[in-house]
């Protein structure tokens, strides 16, 4: 039996997972929408991964989770590594591009820039208050224009004269877009303008003060949009590499971390048949009213978090929900 490792990246918009072997080769992968229900999304991902690889040859011995629901899913699948997405992305990308110096990443709700020297992260930044430079912004604008977001890139490439669209914030961008459409700008020009706006916003907010050095790798869901990739190349003057698996880098990274952790425990796909639920409690022990989340597997509490102090700690002892 050969060893395999599972990495799951549960973002706000999409859930990604890969199974790798001991040489980091991807044996199986899946990408689907989280739809506001990370636990269900993970079950779906697992059901899809199961038939993709040879279960007779490989046994998953360690699981890693990353993304904004990493903690919740980590508890659910019994992960040996629960890692933030910045580190996970850096590890994933450097495993494929050891010389990379700049990682541009745009996901559904967040975007980040990671600077690397000699294979080590030396600086990073993540968007804070604004969603203008992210995938969900593009999705909502696609809907407004009556275009599938997957088609965005191709349509943008047709434009010869991208429309100028205010990039400072989604609200401004949206009203600007409506205005430009109403005065007769062509759809492909508006779409190309939007791609440019996303890049401008990203470079001004996330990339602010950071030096972008080649080789540059662009990843995250939005990297599938060739219009944005092109806009990045124009704005930075660098070639921008987009890996065919650019949407899976976080999952790959955390799978590698699970492999390196040496913490092994056989993983079984039967968790897809188990019932998981969470119950939120507002702690009443002081005025902070911490929201404590309790995670239950088949009605047994397996973990809880959210309390700021010891007073709010809930002991795990086979509590019935």
């Amino acid at each position: 039996m050969k060893k395999a490792y599972l990495g799951i990246d549960i973002g706000s918009i999409s859930t990604k997972a890969v199974i790798i072997d001991e040489k980091n080769k991807i044996l199986a992968s899946e990408y689907l929408w989280t739809e506001g229900n990370p636990m269900e999304a993970v079950k779906k991902v697992l059901r899809s991964l199961e038939p993709q690889f040879k279960k007779k040859t490989y046994q998953i011995v360690s699981v890693g989770t990353t993304g904004s629901a990493r903690k919740l899913i980590g508890a659910m699948v019994g992960a040996s590594v629960v890692k933030n997405e910045i580190t996970a992305h850096a590890i994933g990308t450097t495993s494929l591009y050891p010389d990379v110096r700049t990682i541009l990443e745009i996901g559904g709700q967040d975007s980040k820039i990671i600077l690397i020297e000699d294979g080590v992260v030396v600086d990073y930044a993540m968007n804070t208050l604004c969603a203008a430079g992210t995938g969900s912004f593009l999705s909502s604008q696609a809907r407004r224009l009556g275009v599938e977001v997957e088609e965005f890139g191709k349509i943008a490439l047709k434009s010869k004269k991208p429309t100028n669209i205010a990039a400072r914030c989604t609200v401004f961008a949206e009203s600007d877009l409506v205005h430009k459409a109403q005065i007769g700008h062509r759809k492909e020009d508006i779409i190309a303008g939007l791609c440019k706006a996303v890049v401008t916003n990203y470079l001004n907010n996330v990339g602010k003060g950071k030096k972008i050095v080649a080789p540059v790798v662009f990843q995250g869901g939005v990297s599938k949009n060739i219009g944005v990739t092109k806009a990045f190349e124009e704005a930075t003057g660098c070639d921008v590499i987009v890996d065919p698996n650019s949407h899976l880098m976080g999952a790959l990274g955390v799978a590698i971390l699970a492999r390196k952790s040496k913490k092994e425990k056989e993983f079984s796909f039967n968790i897809t048949d188990m019932e998981f639920k969470t119950i939120g409690i507002e702690c009443q022990k002081c005025a902070n009213h911490c929201e404590i989340i309790c995670v239950y597997k088949n009605n047994q509490m397996i973990d809880s978090w959210g309390n700021r102090c010891e007073n709010g700690a809930i002991p795990i002892k086979n509590k019935e929900a």
Partner: protein, 358 residues
């Protein structure tokens, strides 16, 4: 306010400085002091509700503290001055509280000068007209010593708490120390009590690795010093086994402030005075960068102009000395997950860099 009512003073919650403040007001000015309850989510909710949305978050915390202090019996509120928006806090707080119908006396110290304690005398007279100058001066001296001692002990805990063998020991002693300080009468007592507890702290078993990770925290006055407002960032970092350095406290920034020296040290980066805490932020960042620290964490409240101005300078220092700097901007609502993600990644980055350098 009914004139016959005895004065019950309150000042916004700020680190552990409510203890020396209580001493000064009760022992020196001879009035009752109401310590506002510790800041919580509720404090911030109340404060935000009645504050302009775009004001910096310390204003909202302060307002919440005032209202909670009034509910606890305070009838005289004190606000300080400052060299940024803080200088206007007092007037606005007073107006908001008046509009809300609170019948309280408001003493605005923005006219007093921190470098000259005598200027406080005139303001104190508004709290208690029958002031005894000798009593006030003696209490003031004891209070200043208390501030120094609190800051010293704080520094020690910050640099060692991450390495204690049994979790929570130092915090318990630290809390007991602050309780004990509430009982002191004289400057001598302050020194003695501090010595006793410092010894207890030093007796706590710690296990430090040979190569220490050192991180310095810089930033805006309130957010850096009030742990609730920065999501207990020092504690979070220390828990990972990091020695935390923080220069910013009342002792360094007011009692022993040396602006000329700061300006000299940072002259290659800053030509003109930039206001509020920004000079000190640049100064300490540069010193720690030169000292080979592993990282700097910059904290501020959202929209804090002087600290925003300091950020490009920090970016330059970061590039010149190859020191990573993590920037945090806190507002009234910030997701805990986002902070955790960034802190974790910062820690990973520092560790990977350290591994690489070996």
């Amino acid at each position: 306010m009914k004139t016959k009512e005895p004065c019950r003073v309150a000042f916004p919650r700020f680190g552990n400085y409510h203890i020396p403040l209580e001493f000064l007001f009760t022992k020196g000015l001879g009035v009752e002091y109401i310590t506002p309850p510790p800041s919580t989510k509720k404090t911030l909710e109340i404060g935000s509700k009645y504050s302009p949305d775009y004001v910096c978050s310390p204003f909202k915390f302060n307002l919440g503290n005032y209202i909670e202090a009034i509910e606890a019996g305070a009838n005289t509120l004190v606000q300080t001055g400052g060299t940024c928006r803080l200088g206007y806090y007092g007037e606005l707080h007073e107006q908001i509280l008046k509009d809300l119908g609170y019948d309280v006396k408001f003493v605005n110290m923005s006219k007093a000068n921190y470098r000259n304690p005598l200027t406080f005398y005139n303001e104190f007279k508004k709290v208690n007209p029958n002031l005894n100058l000798a009593k006030v001066s003696s209490a003031l001296l004891t209070m200043l010593k208390m501030v120094e001692c609190i800051d010293n002990v704080d520094d020690y805990v910050r640099q060692n708490v991450g390495f204690e063998v049994h979790d929570g020991e130092m915090e318990k002693i630290h809390e007991a120390y602050l309780e004990a300080l509430k009982q002191v009468e004289t400057k001598k007592d302050v020194i003695k009590t501090t010595k006793t507890y410092m010894k207890k702290l030093k007796d706590v078993k710690t296990k430090k690795p040979k190569k220490l990770i050192r991180v310095g925290i810089v930033g805006e006055y309130y957010t850096i010093m009030e742990p609730f407002s920065n999501h207990f960032i020092e504690k979070e970092l220390a828990k990972k086994g990091i020695v935390i350095y923080r220069w910013m406290n009342v002792t360094n920034s007011i009692l022993h402030y040396d602006g000329k020296e700061q300006k000299k040290v940072i002259k290659n980066y800053v030509k003109y005075y930039m206001g509020a805490t920004s000079m000190s932020t640049v100064y300490k960042t540069l010193e720690w960068a030169k000292a080979g620290f592993d990282g700097i964490v910059h904290v501020k409240s959202f929209g804090c102009t002087p600290e925003i101005d300091a950020m490009p300078v920090l970016q330059k220092i970061s590039a010149d000395y190859k020191i990573p700097i993590l920037y945090f901007s806190f507002d009234s609502q910030t997701s805990e997950t986002g902070i955790q993600t960034r802190l974790e990644a910062f820690y990973d980055m520092i560790m990977m860099r350290k591994e690489k350098r070996k």
